[in-house]
Point group: C2
Amino acid sequence: MTGRRKIFGWGFEGEGFTPPEEEFALATYARLFGVDGFEERAVPGLGEIRLPAPRVAPPASLAAICSAAPHDRALHSFGKSYPDTVHGMLGDYGIAPDVVAYPHDEADIARVIDWAGGQPATITPFGGGSSVVGGVEPALGTKGAKAAVTLDLSRMDRLVEVDPVSRAGRFEGGIFGPALEAALRPHGLTLRHFPQSFEHSTLGGWIATRSAGHYASLRTHIDDFVESLRVVTPRGALETRRLPGSGAGPSPDRLFIGSEGTLGVISEAWIRLTPRPGFRAGSAVWFPDFFAAARGVRAIIQAGLAPANCRILDPDEARNTGAGDGAAALLVLGFEGWDGPLDDLHARALACAADHGGRPAPDLAPAEKWRTAFIRMPYARERMVPRAIIADTFETAVTWDRFEALHATVTKATLAAIRAATGRPGQITCRFTHVYPDGPAPYFSFHALGRHGALLEQWRAIKEAASEALIASGGTITHHHAVGRDHRPWYDRQRPDLFADAFRAAKAALDPASLFNPGVLLDP
Amino acid sequence: MTGRRKIFGWGFEGEGFTPPEEEFALATYARLFGVDGFEERAVPGLGEIRLPAPRVAPPASLAAICSAAPHDRALHSFGKSYPDTVHGMLGDYGIAPDVVAYPHDEADIARVIDWAGGQPATITPFGGGSSVVGGVEPALGTKGAKAAVTLDLSRMDRLVEVDPVSRAGRFEGGIFGPALEAALRPHGLTLRHFPQSFEHSTLGGWIATRSAGHYASLRTHIDDFVESLRVVTPRGALETRRLPGSGAGPSPDRLFIGSEGTLGVISEAWIRLTPRPGFRAGSAVWFPDFFAAARGVRAIIQAGLAPANCRILDPDEARNTGAGDGAAALLVLGFEGWDGPLDDLHARALACAADHGGRPAPDLAPAEKWRTAFIRMPYARERMVPRAIIADTFETAVTWDRFEALHATVTKATLAAIRAATGRPGQITCRFTHVYPDGPAPYFSFHALGRHGALLEQWRAIKEAASEALIASGGTITHHHAVGRDHRPWYDRQRPDLFADAFRAAKAALDPASLFNPGVLLDP
């Protein structure tokens, strides 16, 4: 696990779907699309990729922390979205950054910003590069930049200090999930923020994109864990005050949480921690259908029970992940705690579920199958895109009163778009990732058989139809994947125009030359 | 309770301290200061107040919703802070607004803004007027305004709609606490946000000032209840999307929550609700001293128990409120829930307390005595200021690692300032209002015997010393009283300068002529 991250696909070099995983996925797709097999295209290796010549070169003083090596430039050309993967398969790396800088500290960041500002070159902050929304691709913007620099934070990966009394830790922004947890282990503390990208994403990236973790309720987003942060902007560094709570004006932290690299780089953060939970209780619970399961989790969350895990899978999603047979919806329910047994809370949640037809499975096997499939899922894309399979996910949150209508509208629009774009039926499935007393966070997966040469257009047609349906139905364009450039048209409609004006003005105050991530969240 | 609100003092006309309450307070103060009695000054009635002539008059089209009557102008001259009350006693109403507008809807607000902008006149949003930080006094600012208009939201007081499925309600911003709860009662729902000002403050005011309510943990601030809001700015109205959660860029809601009337007026909000809790459990718990009690509540909150009530009072504060004899610190502990008995949680919290020397009282009587004193406390000021008694409160939040040092520093600095300013010893007491896993929200009360003719300077010297100590010790200048104008010098030091630049730019985008609340949060 100490290898290099892949240029094409998920994870480290040498990792990937096992042959049985690939067979299971292909068999599932063959059955779904009614085909015997798939035409597989080759994916170019690094030696076959044509990169444009760098348009700028760093000065000698920055040479030690900068690279224009093909591997670095290719690795930082894309995130991990569906279109990113298609571009990778096509060897289409024209977007590559001219220079990748690896700062060791804030002074390095400031020097890179100063140099980039003088070219001018735009700056793309890069953590793990796991964006699935077009958040880390270099772009020149419209302000006359002639080059693109990517700022890779991975050398800023330290646990700086721990406050065991307040249970908080100060980390550099470039620390990856596993390193963060490993650094905390000797202190008997944990963050327990486990987005699906956990191994391949960073604390700073989580904060910049409002990442959501494994807690299904209460502490759903990284927002809830941020005690303070440091940001390096083109106008200098700023640090917010470490506070457990405050009522002093609008929260400075909340301006930078979710700023997606448009205001500067999150260089450090103080994060709230806990001991590892010593008590657990949980179940897999079957429901006759997805809406019944939704009513069950609504009852649980509105009873104030706040489970750590409260995911529901519709029957097709349960089948696709090997957790079920497609006849029933699955609730993966779990409580975690530090102070005592959780059996009473667990029993109460099961009672809420039972009121809506939920029957506990004899063991946790279905939940474990789903969990394994969930963790392995990101490895599928690099094997499916070369077969012209279009599989992607999108997610939202919506108030309970609108949820069933949103589900129906989104399902119908996406299936219609799949048929229109590909000429054959596809599939859409849904689960809940997080739940709130006032609404769920539904997460949709769709599957279609595309055509080589048309994958990007086909994907885009489906994505647009789904996004239109989300916004028209009262959802958010993203609950935790972030906005990036892919979600901009719908984000622009969701966000009040006057807020956009205020945010644009705030950006201009911190990044007057619009160097940082032009086109993300805002037009430059 | 349907009378008019007092111009001088707290609450409705005809309300106030009872003679026994006044006797108890005066006896306590006489003992504390070692005096036999107090020289009481008269407070001018409305007929004796000199108001400056209005500098502008509204046009005929706004006449029906505007008033320049002395009662309206005097009522909107001040909040309820210590210096406000001194000014009231002195009949010093030179600051009075020229016009008070009472809009019925957003169109009225827009028309008032348009008219004010043309004068130009500054605009002060006004909910219940319970600010204790200089947040509602009219000011002309430095942009050439020649008059001041106060926008009183109290006519916009409707429950607009209820969503019983998502458990949320849409209210106009000017609704007062009791009316809000009364409107929800037929729906079987409640907000349960009970700041000390509950009867005399509004939903919009709570949002604008990041009010904190009765929940001691989890949902401490109104921030946590806001699902969406509408704001009328000089550039028009905006509405954020109703969502249970979102990861779409920086939160628009969080720009306006805590904006203290500087960006516009909060005209409506969707708020998260619950049924009335059907289950309760609680205790009064005695500790040998305040720091032991603090360790006890730290253990409770870090165990993840999240009590609804978790207030601690130091021995002097317990004595001053009649809850104790001054020999021990008091924890007021309570759990609330909707789904089942809370005895187990309560027992676990008592076990945490016992680990730090906490012994439960035989009944809840001490907690009830404190609660009564807490609710009646705001009526004291109007009776004590005319006796030259300087009594005020300030509050903060700080991480646990710094709490004991902050407490020592603040206590010492405040007592020294009292002695220096008044020539005799005073008292400072402390309680916790809210607790977080990473730190408490300490709330200080101080008591000094001032001198007629010097009260404002004496108060300011003490306030400055206390505020300096808070900021130097790592606290926030306010956990929930807000910033207003009184906290500006320390807020400016607490807030990152670059955030101030960003916020100033955001304000300029929404309020280009700087009409709204100049000097609050930012210089105009």
